[in-house]
């Protein structure tokens, strides 16, 4: 198990290096006009000195080597355009906790609401609660999020008696963004959990559990729910870590200074070092999420063994 995780981590480093190299090469294909706000008015000399300041005059392999060398030292680089001459770690440092808190809370809410909801829907399949839940899921999935996000903001702020502008120190301000952000996941978890649970409940082993004399509630919790949760657990770490990345729409709607939209922003502005740093962060998050998901599966499903060739399916 430990060897497997180590191997996976080493391989992930390679993956990250490849991702970064590709992003690096792509960024260098961007027109140089993008690096200057007033390109047309600059003389050739000014442009050249500007490029050399950014290190863009060097051959690509040299630049690439420099980037990896800096990374190795733990230096993410300095922003040139997004915020001139500010170390990127300093820019990201205050943003990450906000997105993390927002996303973490949203995930907590979606799990604590979505999972009981899915369970109840499966338990009362075909009855009122199931229909109600299905209607909710369909609504959330079919109506563009922008529509109900706006409604929530408009009427929610009025209801809670708060301003629309975000203040991280006021807990009330967190309610609406967190709730808006969890709606989609509530529907998602409820829908899939219901589906997996309904699948499981038709299996023979559930029949056998009934024959044993287990009560319906006990069967639900110790057989059906547990088995249905296995395919879902794989995605939990990823969806948690993805919250670091933030939500563009919610964050801009409530003016939350998080990570949402940051990547798009810095690509547009051709802030190479920023793009590389943000891509590195997102890719790391994604890869760690996958590894954690796989490890979680091993703990829940005895049929899956990692790394070793024996057993398993």
């Amino acid at each position: 198990m430990l060897t497997y995780i180590t191997k996976r981590l080493l391989r992930s480093l390679l993956t990250l290096a490849i991702i970064l190299t590709i992003v690096f090469i792509l960024l260098r294909q961007m027109p140089i006009e993008g690096y200057f706000a007033n390109y047309d008015k600059l003389s050739k000399v000014q442009i050249d000195s500007g490029l050399s300041q950014m290190g863009l005059d060097q051959p690509m392999p040299v630049q690439l080597f420099r980037m990896f060398r800096d990374l190795f030292k733990g230096d993410l680089g300095t922003s040139r355009i997004y915020r001139n001459n500010v170390p990127i770690t300093e820019i990201l440092a205050p943003k990450i906790p906000i997105s993390l808190k927002l996303g973490g809370l949203a995930l907590l809410v979606s799990l604590t609401v979505g999972i009981p909801m899915g369970t109840m829907m499966a338990r009362h399949k075909g009855k009122f609660f199931d229909h109600f839940g299905t209607a909710f899921v369909v609504f959330i999935q079919a109506v563009p999020a922008a529509v109900y996000f706006l409604f929530l903001q408009l009427y929610g702020t009025e209801l809670l008696g708060i301003r629309m502008l975000f203040d991280p120190n006021d807990w009330k301000m967190w309610v609406l963004p967190v709730f808006s952000m969890s709606l989609g996941n509530i529907a998602y978890y409820a829908m899939w959990l219901r589906r997996y649970m309904v699948d499981e409940s038709t299996k023979d082993y559930v029949q056998l559990a009934r024959i044993k004399g287990l009560s319906e509630n006990k069967i639900m919790t110790s057989h059906i729910f547990r088995n249905a949760f296995v395919p879902m657990i794989q995605y939990l770490p990823t969806s948690f870590l993805n919250t670091v990345i933030g939500s563009i729409y919610i964050e801009s709607l409530y003016s939350i200074p998080g990570m949402g939209g940051l990547l798009v922003d810095v690509i547009k502005r051709q802030d190479n070092a920023m793009v590389q740093a943000v891509v590195l962060l997102f890719a790391t998050v994604g890869i760690i999420g996958l590894i954690l998901g796989d490890v979680a599966m091993v703990f829940l499903d005895p049929r899956i063994t990692l790394g070793s060739k024996k057993g398993g399916r």
């Binding site: 082993y205 056998l208 009934r210 024959i211 004399g213 296995v230 005895p302």
Partner: protein, 351 residues
């Protein structure tokens, strides 16, 4: 032998399917005696499994009992299982009084729970043990069903067991409940032949050891000959002939039983194609008029199409529902191959 443990009287079971009603069990009556092995045979869809699911309260949600009684005498005074509604009534009964072994051992165990935990569940509910005693009980059960190294095996998961071994585990689970009646719903169909014999022998041993009454559902007549004391032949939701295994095999009276026995490959003549019953069973969405088997019966009488035959008693233990047994009926000889059964009996009968 005359000590009834289960007595079904005029049972009717129907299913609602897309607005139509399917009459799956039609006025069926049967008695099960304490300590016997009753085999229920019949082709797919004849209602064998549906009948037995009533005994344990596991009828599918769209099925319902529409009249009739299922009297259970396990604890002296009879209780009518047909009146049991919902989980509350069944909880103390399932497993405790009647347990069941399912057909496919590959799917009847939870893939994510260890073997020990799954047997343990049963032990905890029905024998009220916990901790070390529970563990010991699980090991004993595993040994009981012929699984070696129980301490190690109990920690393993179903995917580490072969099909035959899994069926042994399922049997251990059923036995752990200490039931009075054990329903075996085609317990060997999904297994290969060598394993079949082992499982059948195991069931026979356990039956004696735990003083079980066994209801054996199967369409494998070879298995029937091996295990059954009495045989009930089901067709289209009713029992058309019932008697001791000897009587049904060597002196069958109902044309359907003849046809069923005729389908045994062992009775075929080398070089000729195997016998198969022509036609299909009646559509149970429609009311059945007369003898349900008449349309497929080349020896059918006129009355078979008009009136349902009653049971005619051939011996105190043997009765069949066929107009051929009426004193007024013309003499119809059973087909030639029925007389050959005794000759090939050794092959069919494993005893």
């Amino acid at each position: 032998m005359q000590n009834k443990i289960l007595s079904v009287k005029d049972l009717n079971v129907k299913f609602n399917l897309r607005g139509r009603t399917l009459h799956a069990i039609r006025n069926l009556s049967v008695d099960v005696y304490r300590g016997e092995t009753l085999a229920i045979v019949g082709e797919s869809g004849s209602g064998k499994t549906v009948l037995n699911k009533n005994f344990i309260g596991l009828l599918d949600p769209n099925g319902f009992i529409d009249g009739g009684e299922i009297l259970y005498y396990g604890n002296g005074d009879p209780v009518d299982l047909a009146k049991y509604k919902g989980e509350k009534d069944w909880l103390g009964f399932r497993g405790n009084e009647i347990s069941m072994i399912l057909q496919d051992p590959m799917t009847s165990l939870n893939p994510l729970k260890s073997i020990g935990a799954q047997i343990g569940e049963s032990v905890r509910i029905h024998q009220n043990l916990s901790g070390e005693k529970l563990k010991q009980a699980v090991y004993d059960l595993l040994e009981e069903v012929g699984i070696e190294e129980p301490e190690r095996r109990a920690r393993q998961y179903p995917h580490e067991f072969s099909g035959g071994m899994r069926q042994r585990v399922v049997i251990a689970i059923a036995i752990a409940c200490r039931p009075k009646i054990l329903i075996c719903d085609e317990p060997t169909t999904a297994l290969d032949v060598t394993i079949q014999a082992q499982i059948l022998n195991l069931l026979k041993d356990l039956k004696v050891k735990f003083n079980l009454t066994v209801i054996f559902i199967t369409h494998d007549l070879g298995v029937v000959a091996n295990v059954a004391d009495r045989v009930a032949v089901m067709y289209a939701g009713d029992i058309v002939e019932i008697g001791t295994a000897e009587e049904v095999f060597y002196d069958p009276r109902h044309p359907y039983t003849w046809a069923l026995l005729g389908s045994l490959p062992q009775l075929g003549i080398k070089g000729e194609s195997l016998y198969a019953i022509k036609g299909t069973p009646p559509n149970l969405f429609m009311p059945v008029v007369g003898d349900a088997f008449a349309p497929r019966n080349p020896r059918a009488l006129k009355i078979d199409f008009m009136e349902e035959p009653p049971y005619f008693e051939i011996s105190p233990t043997h009765k069949a529902k066929s107009w051929l047994l009426d004193p007024r009926a013309p003499k119809v000889e059973p087909p030639e191959y029925i007389k050959n059964i005794r000759k090939v009996g050794g092959e069919v009968d494993g005893r």
